[in-house]
Symmetry: C3
Subunit: 336 residues, 3 copies
């Protein structure tokens, strides 16, 4: 059960200002499905008007909107940030029992911190270290010599190979695989000879990785993912890749071996990056782009093969003129 | 062991007509590898001729083909539909022992219907409900408060997060993850603040989802997949997505957050759909298209970025004329 | 603990020639992070010069480089092949305890070879056969009637459906799913009727498949993957697909149903192949290509839709001339 709140307390937590009656708040609901006693984040007058008679406890509105709504409302500077904060407040708690299940299979050498929760059916190999308050769900398989910081959450059926290092506050969703061998072979008379991957994977604090994504281990050194970087579902991070901090990588993205991303890089869904590239800080890659060249810091690239956004847009404009060009050429040839 | 059939019974089950001798039928095999005593679905005279002396029990042929084959044959209106029916008849039965393994870890509060089969190594959280005749394979992890209808099949190593609702007849292949958090963050000084996902996932009757596909939970409301929709392997269905009924979504497709698909939509393999789009009933999206705009009902779109099919084909035609255009422009410039 | 080596022994194992002092070798490290007592593979004079004073045991250099480095060095014909051999020599050994865990759940009918290692939490169904020295990690679920050759490695949380056949030396990374149903339906009044997949999957010797990749079973016959073919992470191999030997398939590739690849085919990351295609021996497909036609043996194809490489490059060249073409057409129209 979550703690009880009222809208005045929430206004304070959101650095906002409550107009109207302070009421108890039982949760967070949506504009489309407002639930009794909850707060609802809205962004425009239409949404405010539609909720005029909803049995909610308060609206959360941008301070830029001047409303005379009879609903109590909390004015905030950034409604999306308010949504994030409220979602944390009203998220169902889980893994709070802080027990290590006797039905988990944990090597006796594993060092387990305080208030750790390890579910039945989890398996942890020799010499691994699990930090305070970390949660390991059923079906997770953690190899030998894995180190995991504090406050990590491993959802069900995550696999961590031997020797991987996770910082604190790392969230791994179900089906994530960290530390599998990279796709590296030497060719000998057209036959692929496996290059065993002796490197590891190092994941910094507060990284979140979506369901069924994979991060391969490095050939000799570590594949690295920087602090607070978020990776969506079904992404492939190749061996030796180095990703900076605060990157956002959407679903079904593939980053091939040894490519380096700076900080604050954003990659749209389905994009692919070739191997051994360098992508500068703050670069943005459009969804489904096929990147085969280095991208300088701060640039936006799209297309297949990818190129700077303006160049790509100009090319698309010119291609849209092809009908006119073709009619002109046909006409000119007729005159000859 | 499957029930024994003969070809006359099968003709009745297929709404077809048997020409020739009724024989026992032990299974279904292929034109390339016909096995003794089986039925084989064929579609043309070459295949019929090639099987003239095969030791099979009957051919299944389209009623539009007039054949004098000496093989017994069952004429049917739709051979592909006949194939589907026969494949169900001769599919190996599994999970028929209808037992709940003592080596499954099931919270005492779970409500289990009749003739349910729960394999060793499956784990089911508190307050979940499992409908009659459902089958849960080894390694499946089902969270708390999950509801599952009748006749569901969860293959090995499926993960269902808390609160997800499955209808009846739902088939989830191995590695499927339902209910993971959506990829939603608020940016605060370039740092991503997690938006916890309080919504759920609701999957209607007779949906089938392929191996290692993911369906994220909604932010505040439910991500929804409509009745009889089929999703292939390695697909990503983002948070808040609404998919109608009878859709077919091929492998490696990504559908970004809050996008809405109508009924009977078909999406080719590797296609990607941006967020907050609306795709109308009966629309078709070509494989590997990159969809960044709404698609009206009934339209076929392809390309990157995707556009209406005819427009895309015209553009490809015009691009194929570029050599001619370029030679013309070069020639004209020479004359200047 | 790995066996101890010295650099003279390694030179022999690599078919190379040691110049300088023979020293004990404790491992393999990288040019960027040379570790004491290790060997380091280098490919140019800059790398050699940078390691002049590193406390390593020997450099591995191409025999084409004439160096006067004071470091002992082993000259080899192919440094990448040397890297592969060294990586195998210094790879951490695992699964060497050769025990069958009492906490694995193995049907009594399973035939287990010599020196097999089956981890706790693995589950193996009736009538399966596990070859000598094979290793099955925790969380693996192996169905009924599965046959597995010698020296296979199944990393954690792999799923093998009933009846699948694996050769010897097969490596499957975590989350791999082999034998799930293909995406095949018959449409009956716009409703998809499931075609049950009665075929199987046959994987030949020395195949390696990356994390979370999927191989669907055939409709009536087997989906096949030829000897020594390597498949990267998150790939989708559709039902009835036939892949030859010695193919290399990079990450996030999708191959749709019934497509046939010859031997020595290479497919770049993120590429998609439509169904029922034939790709000849030695063909190469560029990353993220969308292949919708057959590809003759030995050809290189790229683009969306894919076409022969030279044609694609020419098209890209012509598109880059569009600015000039457009200016010409605008100018000509002005003159009219």
């Amino acid at each position: 059960m979550n703690k009880a709140y009222n809208s005045l307390e929430l206004a304070t937590l959101l650095n906002g200002h409550l107009e109207g009656e302070a009421r108890p708040v039982t949760g967070l609901s949506s504009f489309q499905q407002p639930r009794q006693g909850t707060v609802v984040v809205v962004n425009n007058y239409e949404q405010i008007a539609a909720l005029e008679h909803a049995p909610i406890s308060a609206l959360i509105i941008p301070e830029s909107l001047k409303t005379e709504s009879s609903q109590p409302h909390i004015q905030v500077g950034d409604t999306r940030l308010a949504l994030a904060k409220l979602s944390a407040i009203f998220a169902p708690e889980f893994g709070t029992s802080a027990t290590v299940s006797p039905q988990a299979q944990i090597d006796p050498s594993v060092k387990i911190g305080r208030d750790v929760n390890i579910a039945p059916g989890a398996i942890i190999g020799a010499d691994s270290v699990i930090g305070d308050r970390s949660f390991i769900a059923p079906g997770c398989v953690i190899g030998q010599g894995v180190s995991m910081g504090k406050d990590c959450v491993l959802h069900a059926n995550v696999t961590i190979y031997d020797g991987v290092e996770l910082g604190s506050g790392v969230i791994l969703h179900s089906g994530v695989v960290i530390g599998s061998d990279g796709f590296g072979y030497a060719l000998n008379k057209q036959k692929a000879i496996k290059i065993h991957h002796l490197g590891s994977v190092v994941i910094a604090d507060d990284v979140e990785i979506g369901a069924n994504s994979c991060v391969d281990r490095g050939t000799l050194n570590a594949t690295k993912i920087g602090a607070r970087t978020k990776i969506d579902n079904l992404c492939q991070i190749g061996h030796n890749v180095q990703i900076g901090s605060d990157c956002l990588i959407a679903g079904l993205v593939g980053i091939a071996g040894s490519t380096v991303l700076g900080n604050n890089v954003q990659v749209g869904g389905g994009a692919g990056l070739a191997d051994h590239l360098v992508v500068g800080d703050g670069a943005q890659i459009i969804a489904q782009a096929g990147v085969s060249k280095n991208i300088p810091a701060g640039e936006v690239w799209g297309g297949y093969p990818a190129e700077p956004f303006k160049k790509w847009m100009r090319k698309r404009y010119l291609v849209s003129k092809l009908e006119q060009i073709w009619q002109f050429v046909k006409g000119a040839n007729k005159h000859d």
